[in-house]
């Protein structure tokens, strides 16, 4: 299969390769990575550094009766062992989560999930620290766990959070959006209603680099330097100041090269806090890096939504309304990372890409004896769950109406002239041309031909499926007045300095985990001020060197920080005009801009380049009133609205009727992320997300047995796609710029992770249609597909 890049031309969009700025250029970060000179947390070695290891609970729910660390302390090389009791003395046994709850740093009273942190050993080397874990004696009094979220609210269910005064159940929140009465009225008069329970099973982002930290507390200054795997270093600094009492100006967070994040590195984990405590207690730097099982069993999981979907339509196929009730399993502590007002993230974009008359959703969050976390894994704050719900429901409706699923979608997509489009749950979609994207994907796929092939194959008893998904994302959180995380408004800063010789440094508040910020952000500056990207350094990931901002997750870097960078560059360009005018002894209004240069209107030969202006600014030119002697600027960008990338995906699968094995034969992805800065990087992001989709749809699953044992705690059990499970991706794109974003960009990091699982699942169900299967839940492993083929499809929990 060849790789196809198809471009639906849009003259309004800045997509063409240009001499400076946007277009396909090699990444600036690659030379160090290909030489093995990346600098990740575990590569850091400080003088006198010690190694920490965490003892974790083997059981899911138990009272901690006693803990004896004496044998561990006596082990050669062990420097200290910290328990929950020690932390109680320091008032650090519990730490606030990102969702107004608390989480135990080390167990003091009761274990609440398997893999929970029980004790922290600090030793001279990593082997000694691991050895000593075996020498800690813990006595647990095992309790009945709550594993199935469906029973978390049963009367008499064990109360997981009994440390909270007065708590008698496992209920966390109820949240709703849309209008229930209006929706009910539309349902009451609809010709056709279909219902389906859809489970989005628990998953884990599992970046290749696990989480870790090196803490270095310097007692004389009272200063902490913390190197950690963080997608949000500034937010972490503020939280560490609040939790530890170390003043914020004495804390420096450095997030070096990060080996993938996908949401896994947004939260603050007990291990980070323990490394800090360990450094304070021992007076030496302490490194803690988790192993893979620890990563899969204790850090932020994803999904775990049980959704009851209902869709109403006319018999001609006009979709009228959607409603859903969701049970959200949040694990033992409510530690999801989402804007404060939105306990279910942005799930209320479940109306998808369709023009509806009414919609309503209700989400109920519950505690269970599972690892905490919740909003993670490239989900754009629960848009992943929303898209699965709506795209499955539309497919199920198509089956019921005996309509082609592409035709049903084309009939109901929001039309280009309806933008900006207000949906029924309060979003204002910025821009879109949905039909064009869907038609392009169908053309690339050869949709009609595929359906003909399928017909022939069905006649021969072969199982071939074609699945479509059309998604609309909501990313780039967010306007400060609506969105904050633990009280911190979701804005981002950028600072740009042009040095006297015309080279530049731009400092940004977001942190790359592989997205290529050092390249794309340089390209944005280059495009705006006409200095080539190679002359612009991008500094990120160090709170001492960068302006405040909320970090990289929810596909927000380009929509928020990218806007900040464009605006700061425009500010510099404007300042340069005044300086150029002074240098040319003319008035600023008489100057005109071309890339990299201000010149006199009507006389292009008289002008000054950015490098000349930079030298002038720092030199002896007499500057106009109010203009400082530099060529620097700073900006904090507060987005007026979110951005709404979208896409049309088509997946073709073949299922082995003898084994239930699903083979993804083809995958066609058309994405529209507005203005495209570096098409190579965009394509890479899309490919990665599609692979995540294959994982979630077919393989990856964090499952538990009834005792609460995590059955997905290693890469032997939690299966990640390799090169053998994924096809050669076929990608295409359209360009519909965001009208409110300074450069029209919308963000793309999570689009494919959000959009691909329903396309694959719809293809699997379509393949199984001749056997009477109308729905099955992910993951579509051979065993589960086989069961569905026998009429025994069951939810994964």
């Amino acid at each position: 299969m060849t790789i196809t890049e198809v471009h639906a031309p849009n003259p309004a969009a800045g997509d063409a390769d240009r001499p400076i700025g946007y277009g396909r250029i090699q990444r600036k970060e690659d030379p160090r990575f290909v030489r093995g000179k990346g600098h990740y947390v575990d590569d850091i070695v400080l003088p006198g550094m010690l190694h920490g290891a965490i003892l974790r609970s083997p059981v899911a729910h138990a009272r901690l009766v006693s803990i004896d660390t004496s044998r561990a302390l006596a082990h050669p090389g062990v420097v200290a062992v910290i328990t929950g009791q020690d932390l109680l003395g320091l008032k650090l046994a519990w730490a606030p989560t990102l969702s107004a709850d608390v989480q135990a740093v080390l167990v003091t009273d009761k274990v609440r999930f398997q893999g929970q942190e029980v004790a922290f050993v600090i030793a001279e080397d990593r082997y000694a620290a691991r050895d000593a874990l075996e020498l800690i004696d813990v006595d647990y009094d095992v309790l009945t766990p709550v594993i199935d979220a469906r029973h978390a609210l049963d009367p008499g269910a064990p109360v997981i959070r009994d440390e909270i005064e007065g708590r008698t159940d496992n209920h966390i929140f109820d949240w709703e959006a849309g209008n229930a009465a209006e929706t009910d009225a539309v349902f009451a008069s609809a010709d056709v209603i279909v219902k389906q329970e859809i489970v989005y099973p628990r998953s884990h982002p599992a970046p290749m680099e696990t989480c870790g930290a090196v803490a270095d507390f310097e007692p004389i200054e009272g200063a902490l330097t913390l190197y950690e795997t963080s997608q949000a270093p500034h937010a972490h600094r503020t939280l560490f100041a609040i939790v530890s009492g170390i003043p914020e100006h004495k804390i420096r967070i450095v997030s070096p090269d990060i080996g993938g994040g996908f949401g896994n590195k947004v939260g603050i984990y007990p291990g980070y806090i323990l490394a800090v405590v360990g450094s304070i207690v021992t007076g030496r730097p302490v490194k803690w890096v988790e192993d893979r099982s620890e990563n899969l069993m204790s850090t932020s999981f994803a999904r775990d939504y049980i959704m009851q979907g209902e869709i109403a339509a006319t018999k001609e196929g006009k979709i009228l309304a959607l409603r859903t009730n969701v049970l959200a399993d949040h694990g033992a502590f409510n530690a999801t990372a989402q804007p404060t007002k939105y306990p279910a993230g942005f799930f209320h974009i479940f109306t998808g890409s369709y023009d509806l008359e009414a919609a309503h959703c209700k989400v109920t969050g519950v505690y269970t004896n599972k690892a905490p976390g919740g909003v993670a894994y490239a989900c754009s704050f629960r848009v992943t769950e929303a898209v699965l719900l709506v795209e499955r429901m539309v497919d199920i409706l198509a089956r019921k109406l005996e309509m082609d699923p592409a035709e049903l979608r084309l009939k109901n997509l929001i039309k280009p002239e309806q933008f900006p489009y207000k949906n029924k749950t309060g979003w204002e979609y910025d821009s879109g041309n949905y039909e064009r994207a869907l038609r392009l994907s169908m053309e690339m796929a050869g949709y009609d031909e595929l359906r003909r092939e399928q017909k022939e194959k069905r006649a021969r008893g072969e199982l071939m499926g074609i699945g479509i998904s059309f998604f609309t994302e909501t990313v780039g959180a967010g306007p400060r007045k609506h969105m904050d995380i633990v009280g911190l408004g979701m804005a981002d800063g950028a600072e740009l300095r042009i040095h006297p010789t015309g080279k530049a440094v731009v400092r940004i508040s977001v942190q790359s985990q592989g997205q290529g910020h050092e390249t794309t952000f340089a390209q944005i500056v280059a495009e705006e001020i006409g200095i080539p990207p190679e002359d612009i350094d991008v500094v990120h990931g160090d709170t001492d060197q960068t302006p405040f901002g909320l970090g990289t997750y929810g596909s927000r870097s380009t929509p928020v920080s990218g806007a900040a960078v464009a605006l700061v560059a425009r500010k510099v360009r404007e300042k340069a005009k005044f300086i150029a005018a002074a240098m040319l002894e003319t008035r600023p209004e008489d100057l005109e801009w071309e890339k990299g240069r201000w010149f006199v209107k009507g006389d292009p030969s008289v002008g000054k380049t950015m490098a000349e202006i930079a030298m002038g600014a720092h030199g002896t030119v007499t500057l106009p009133e109010g203009i400082d002697g530099n060529l620097d600027a700073e900006v904090t960008y507060d987005p007026p609205n979110l951005t709404f990338p979208f896409g049309a995906y088509i997946c073709v699968v073949d299922i082995d009727p003898g084994t239930g094995h699903v083979k993804v034969r083809r995958f066609i992805a058309v994405d529209d992320c507005g203005t495209r800065i570096n098409p190579m990087i965009i394509e890479g992001q899309v490919h990665g997300g599609l692979t995540d989709g294959v994982g979630m749809a077919l393989m990856q699953f964090i499952e538990f047995d009834e005792s609460g044992n995590n059955l997905g705690g290693s890469f032997m059990d939690y299966l990640i796609p390799t090169a053998m499970e994924v096809p050669n991706w076929e990608t295409g794109f359209t360009v519909t710029p965001s009208p409110h974003h300074p450069i029209g960009a919308k963000g793309v990091g999570e689009s494919a992770t959000v959009g691909s699982p329903p396309a694959i699942l719809n293809a699997v169900v379509d393949a199984l249609a001749p056997l009477g299967v109308t729905h099955m839940d992910m993951p579509c492993t051979p065993a589960r597909v086989w069961a569905a083929m026998q009429g025994r499809a069951t939810p994964p929990i």
Binding site: F33, G514, H687, S714, W729
Partner: protein, 164 residues
């Protein structure tokens, strides 16, 4: 115990604990941190190095087992400032994002090309099938290896500075 081996062409001799894994020996003792580790179960391949030219998962080899052998890590792929075509290919075809799986992927690719200078897509996919990349979706890695196969003798890489 004492072990000796050649690492990226240099003879080294070290005193080690017999149980030390090769990945830890390379990272912690030799301070060659381009070799990564990513799992506890020999599944991910971020730790791949070449032992006598053959890819091995260095988390699954004791340092003691490498006694007397020749080890190549990512730091040994380039000769001086001249990158191996595989390294160049990964940059040309965007075969990496976070860079964590990249050293292992490139070493496997080098070993494949040494055996089979013109592999097809399936052969490349099979060669890297014991390794996981969470970022790229593999297609660009396949393209990168093909680029290297098509450019076997890159003499000079212009304008590349090795970052300190």
């Amino acid at each position: 115990m004492q072990i000796s081996m050649t690492v990226n062409g240099d003879e080294i001799t070290r005193e080690i604990e017999p149980r030390v894994l090769l990945v830890h020996f390379i990272r912690d003792d030799l301070r060659l941190t381009g070799t990564h580790w990513g799992c506890d179960t020999s599944n991910c391949g971020t730790c791949v190095v070449l032992m006598d030219g053959v890819p091995v998962k260095s988390c699954t080899v004791l340092a003691a087992m490498a006694d007397g052998r020749a080890i190549t890590t990512v730091e040994g792929l380039a000769s001086g400032t001249t990158l191996d075509p595989v390294q160049q290919g990964f940059m040309e075809e965007h075969g990496l994002q976070c860079g964590f799986c990249t050293p292992g992927m490139m070493l496997t690719a080098r070993a494949l090309l040494d055996q089979n200078p013109h592999p097809d897509d399936t052969e490349i996919r099979e060669a890297i099938s014991g390794q996981i990349c969470r970022c790229t979706g593999y297609a660009t890695i396949v393209r990168s290896v093909k680029w290297a196969a098509d450019h076997p003798a890159v003499e000079e890489i212009a304008g590349e500075e090795v970052p300190a």
